[in-house]
């Protein structure tokens, strides 16, 4: 039996009701939005589900939507069920004023560094993470570089100024 988007979505709505929002299917992959506070119960339910078995966290990353008032930052989980060869995507939005979301390192060990990377670039704090510190950037950096307000290069540099081939 292979999983379809309808089966998974129905099971999720039966279990979690109004927490499952905005189901869409961009390029056939089921995408749902969940409240940030509900990520641990929903993800662990999906992993431990007898039939679905989403045992594999493919990817975890952040996205910044500056215009999305109140919920500017998104954490995006890609899950994969090997037994059905079925992928799905889960989004959780948090505010950029207080970007906090529970960690899922207890559910998937691979989330450890991916959450650190997301913290490093977007400043999203993962509550309960065992070692939440910067991973790729240097420790004394005082901003989160992947946020959209930061341009690609340091605007204070004058040696890069070129009015015809400006950057």
């Amino acid at each position: 039996m292979s999983l379809t988007n309808e089966i998974v979505l129905k099971a999720l709505i039966d279990q979690f009701g109004e927490h499952i929002k905005d189901p869409t299917e961009p390029y056939t992959m089921l995408t749902i939005t969940i409240p940030a506070s509900q990520n641990v119960p929903i993800l662990s339910w999906l992993r431990d589900h007898r039939d679905f078995q989403f045992v594999f966290l493919t990817d975890l990353c952040g996205v910044h939507y500056p215009a999305n008032g109140g919920l500017e930052l998104a954490v995006i989980y890609h899950l994969h069920s090997f037994i059905h060869n079925y992928r799905m995507r889960i989004k959780a939005f948090v505010s950029s004023l207080n970007p906090e979301i529970p960690t899922i390192t207890e559910i998937y060990a691979s989330a450890n560094w991916m959450e650190r990377e997301t913290y490093d670039f977007f400043g999203i704090r993962f509550k309960g993470h065992p070692q939440l510190k910067r991973i790729l950037n240097m420790d004394d950096m005082n901003y989160f570089p992947m946020l959209k307000q930061y341009p690609l290069e340091d605007q204070l540099r004058e040696d890069k100024e070129d009015k015809f081939f400006g950057r």
Partner: protein, 408 residues
């Protein structure tokens, strides 16, 4: 001698003396250690020769690719992908083109798919060759490494014939290839197919059943399938644990469904199994290249997508339409559908995924690379815990961690 000293001396003599608190030595392995093949730092807590715990520090060659990609038009992102896993950059290039083709719903001709399979499998061989031969070097066998690198050079010559570059290849375009393979390319691939099996066989005879090699690698750096899945292992490292997950089969791309190949799996997930899985995969790749060469379809070497595929330069000078499309592509006047897509390919060391969010503009809104190395390298401290320092070196080289991909 005081009473206390006397007591200690007796304890020492009876060999029952234990310090109140166990003492550990701190050892910095890396960042530039000749045995770590790249810029990897591990701060190890050592109990004599045994590793008590380790903490990797990464990011030494971080180049902010994801930020860079947000400021590049789609067709200019290919050179960035070269620099992820630089041992098999053609796979990264193809992975990016395939992502774009999926986003734009472009159907590529069969010929493009087969050409891609040839290049991707050559790249896989080159990637596994480095990993396996360097693993042999770390156990003390330098000869095989020097011998087999000649064949890697042959693969690079094939790349050079196709695209002009060797390491950072930038092969292909969105929709296909910039030009068809020429006769010399076909000749070089055929010669490689003839020569390589003999060399690889010789290398395997030298290493695979070598007593020293087996003693150094069996039961070293082992991980169970369950932990490997939790840690997000993919590629040969996961297959060595006994999980037959291969993106080429699970979410097929580039006509891999036409090809008949087996997915080798191991049982213990240790260094020796990883070596064997890679070795077998090279033979399977050879089979696939041979099949693609024998059954090369006729047709065009690119899809018919003038809005994204740069026209040949000669046409740009001589025909109006080609000039218009050239201008539109270079100036970013072509619309891209809004949407988000996750598209994986089987890279040299696991599932290389591209998560792309497009807002319809000429630049990606967000592009995230799922880099297999980055995700499975976090299991390294757990894998080396309680092992000898020399085993930690062997474990690292068998994991095939590539610094460029790790740090992106």
């Amino acid at each position: 001698m005081s009473k206390q000293e006397k007591k200690e001396a007796t304890l020492l003599q009876n060999n029952t003396y234990l310090p109140e608190e166990k003492q550990y030595n701190t050892l910095n392995l890396g960042p530039t250690h000749p045995a770590t093949h790249g810029i990897f730092q591990n701060v190890l807590k050592m109990d004599g020769e045994k590793i008590y715990s380790g903490e990797p520090t990464i990011g030494y060659i971080h180049r902010a690719f994801e930020k860079l990609a947000e400021h590049r038009p789609y067709y200019q992102i290919t050179p960035i992908t070269d620099r992820l896993n630089y041992c098999s950059s053609p796979i990264n290039n193809m992975g990016w083109h395939i992502t774009m083709e999926r986003l734009l719903n472009i159907e590529t001709p069969k010929k493009v798919d087969y050409m891609r399979v040839i290049i991707m499998e050559l790249a896989r061989i080159a990637d596994h060759l480095i990993c396996n031969s360097v693993l042999a070097v770390d156990t003390g066998a330098l000869t095989g490494f020097l011998y087999i690198f000649q064949q890697r050079e042959k693969i690079y010559e094939i790349y050079e014939e196709i695209c002009g570059a060797r390491l950072t290849t930038n092969i292909g375009r969105i929709g296909g290839f910039e030009r068809d393979f020429n006769d010399i390319t076909y000749k070089k691939i055929e010669r490689f197919l003839q020569e390589f099996p003999e060399v690889l066989g010789e290398f395997e005879r030298l290493v695979s059943r070598n007593r020293i090699f087996m003693d150094r690698t069996i039961n070293v750096g082992a991980i169970t399938a369950e932990r490997a899945l939790s840690y997000g292992f993919t590629g040969p490292n996961l297959r060595a644990c006994g999980v037959d997950y291969d993106v080429r089969v699970f979410s097929s791309y580039s006509s891999y469904e036409d090809f008949d190949f087996i997915i080798p799996i191991g049982t213990n997930g240790d260094t020796y199994d990883r070596y064997c899985v890679r070795s077998t995969e090279m033979w399977e790749s050879l089979k696939m290249i041979k099949y693609a060469m024998d059954n090369m379809p006729t047709g065009s070497h690119h899809a018919d997508v003038p809005a994204f595929y740069l026209p040949p330069k000669l046409d740009v000078y001589n025909s109006m339409e080609a000039l218009i499309w050239h201008f539109k592509i270079v100036m970013g006047e072509v619309d891209v559908p809004k949407g988000e897509i996750y598209s994986p390919v089987e890279g040299g060391n696991g599932e290389l995924g591209f998560y792309l969010i497009s807002d319809g503009g000429r630049l990606p809104y967000r592009l995230h690379f799922r880099r297999p190395c980055f995700i499975y390298y976090q299991a390294y401290p757990e894998m080396i815990q309680g092992q000898l320092l020399s085993d930690a070196i062997v474990t690292m080289s068998s994991l095939n961690v590539i610094a460029g991909e790790l740090d992106a």
